[in-house]
């Protein structure tokens, strides 16, 4: 069958439109190396990030969205505190090798090595926050940009993360490379969006916030 040039142009247009619709308002980053270097530099300079966030978890099957909000604190290299304040108080704490989960009634603590999924999710969130996404064997990435933001579309390569997420989309503000939002798109079709407010970079914090007594 002869493929006419009109057909080829039509196919190119379809692929182009598909890419456009996927990340509307964004185009492929021209200088990926520059973005990598900028994120690496930011990572070196900003050891601690504290940021308020709003989260929406959409359950496609229930046609329901759960909204929550809280504060996230990340201390390089591997301490992470996600503290939900609304609608319920709930604390998720990753400190080196331990995970602490505290709600209004209970405290649960276990070594992170006991739960590979938790470990992978912790690393993935930390990589997203820090922008350590390039040349990382755990992901393949595609970078896009708009006038105000960078968008990195991440496809997980690790088996236990691939089981959970189809892809993860992270947006960084162009002006200071702080994180704008993370979209976690699950294989179930459900999606979690964490939208971050203005980041507080290198605030003075008490390291005690990463432990629970």
């Amino acid at each position: 069958m002869k493929i006419s040039s009109i057909n080829i142009i039509f196919l190119i247009c379809i692929f182009h439109l598909n890419g456009y619709a996927q990340h509307q308002g964004f185009v492929v980053v021209k200088d990926n190396k520059k973005l990598e270097l900028q994120l690496k530099e930011k990572n070196t300079n900003h050891k601690i990030t504290q940021v308020a966030f709003k989260q929406e978890k959409t359950f496609t099957f229930l046609n329901e969205t759960l909204k929550s909000e809280g504060k996230l604190t990340y201390s390089s290299p591997n301490k992470l505190r996600i503290e939900y304040s609304e609608p319920n108080k709930y604390l998720l704490l990753f400190n080196n090798d331990n995970v602490y989960i505290k709600d209004e009634k209970n405290l649960n603590q276990f070594p992170i090595s006991n739960n590979k999924t938790f470990k992978s999710i912790q690393l993935m969130i930390i990589d997203c926050l820090s922008g350590n996404l390039f040349k990382n064997s755990n992901y393949s990435t595609k970078s896009y940009e708009s006038s105000t933001q960078y968008l990195i579309d991440i496809t997980p390569k690790q088996e236990n993360i691939k089981k959970i997420y189809d892809n993860i989309i992270v947006k960084f503000n162009k002006n200071d490379l702080t994180i704008a939002n993370i979209q976690l798109i699950e294989r179930s079709g459900d999606m979690t969006i964490m939208s971050f407010m203005k980041s507080n970079l290198n605030p003075s914090i008490n390291n005690e916030i990463f432990t629970i007594h």
Binding site: K57, F59, F61, L62, L92, I101, D103, T117, S188
Partner: protein
Amino acid sequence: MKYLLFINILLIATNCGISKKSVSTTETTHCIIQPIKVDSTINYNFKFLYSGNETNGKLLVKKNNEESIKGTIFSENGITLFNVEILQSYAKITYAFENLNNKYIKSNLEEDLKFIFSNSTIQQNKNRKYYISYKDNDFNVSFLKNSECTLLNTITHKDKIIFLNNSPKEIIIKTNVYTISLTQ
């Protein structure tokens, strides 16, 4: 003597008959419990213990239409574990997280969720050990079945439990496959 022997045989035969009838009655025993009424979205904390691993999360249940309700179970790190649709006559898990996508878990979970939210009787299943308890402000009721499906304690045949606020504060289901704890 001949008559005595005949009477003995007759008595043994009658006893066997009674014994058999008794087992049969036990097997058809049902504990009647009011299914949880889902008018608005119900939110339970969910704890799932399977094969030595504990998973914590939430169960969200919502009325879909007059005939069915839908539920989603998700873990504390926000990952959807199960989607289930429950009708009067059956429950169907439409999505299961890969690590839990096991025929045995799914069929048991379908049966338990149907029991809690739709059907008011426990299905007899000789291969399954079963314990279920409901706790609320006004009552704490539990019953236990062994592998022979004998009702062992607490509520008796045809007792009826009605939840004052539509849904009890705590439900615990222990089977030989897993343990589920639902708390509000």
